[in-house]
Amino acid sequence: MIELLTSTPMFGIVASVGFYLLGVAFHRRWPIAIFTPLVFSIGVIIVLLLVFDIPYETYNEGGQFINLFVTPATVALAIRLEKNFDYLKNYYQSILLGIFFGVLAHTIVIVLLAWLFQFNQELFATLIPKSITTAIAVGVSESLGGLPSLTVAIVVLTGIVGAIVGPPLFKLFQITDPVAQGIAMGSSSHAMGTTKAIELGEVQGAMSGLAIVVTGIVVVIIVPVAMAAVNALFF
């Protein structure tokens, strides 16, 4: 029975889309983190594959077709960048400085903690792109020799955590400027932070969307340099 069900690539496609849609329905009803469609569908599919002893490769015969759309979706982020370009032009100093030093400081925090926990280079490369949008994070993780699938999980978790802790942190540290709030949300917790930023206000939403793209590009530029420095220092 299981053999029959998994004999066609359609199995992976139907499972991915189906459980994602189920997650959307559940999340609408009970808006808690565990029902975030991406988290829910990944969790349920992993459990099912393990319970019925289906290898990942069998699932991925269909899954790869969905995965194929990651690149075009990332390319399409250019549309948002172009639409929000006026904001960038007006506040470019504060936005670029904030994101640049943010990425740098974030990288240093991860380097220190990874060193403290005696992580190897593979795990370090997996963690480094955690604050950026999944598509770019996967590419960075891959090109640095990390574990892309683990990066996806960490990126998703980061998004959930960021969306939850963002607003209370703004209150605690008196970050009241809408531009600053939006950039902070987008740069530290990508698209999931952006969904929360949209709830905070229109400016926050637009800035957060812009920050996703800019942070992604900054990470792509900074991280290979940081990686080389870390290699020279620790490994």
């Binding site: 504060s94 795990l123 942190l169 950039i183």
Partner: protein
């Protein structure tokens, strides 16, 4: 036909990004290069927003679903996670909170400073 044309352009930029990425001496994801290329083409009007907008927005609005297979691949990393999951969680929490506050503070203070300066000089470039 309109959708297919838009899809075609987005695939063309994806293709170009991947190709450039494979010949570049440094490691930059092809998807990012494709994005930068498309941005320049849109910004300088070499391609019109209407030629990619509908499909592009559909792709970015529904981006999360495309990551399901990559996330499921997590099951192939359970051996790594067995010993390190709690350390990874700590790094994730600490670095996310840190970056949120740090970026917010920097953007806010730089923005206030530049606005004050602009006001003093009597320029309203807001």
């Amino acid at each position: 036909m309109r959708i297919i044309k838009q899809l075609f352009w987005i695939f063309v930029f994806s293709f170009a990004g991947e190709l450039i990425s494979s010949v570049l001496p440094i490691t930059v994801p092809g998807s990012v290069l494709g994005m930068v290329l498309l941005f320049f083409f849109l910004h300088f009007g070499w391609i019109k927003m209407e030629q990619v907008e509908e499909v592009g927005n559909w792709l970015t609005d529904n981006m999360a679903i495309f990551f399901v297979p990559a996330g499921v691949a997590l099951m192939t990393n359970f051996d790594v996670l067995a010993d390190t999951w709690w350390q990874i969680l700590i790094i994730m929490l600490v670095s996310t909170v840190f970056m949120m506050v740090f970026v917010g503070k920097v953007v806010q203070s730089v923005k206030q400073r530049t606005e004050k300066k602009a006001n003093q000089e009597g320029i309203h470039n807001d």
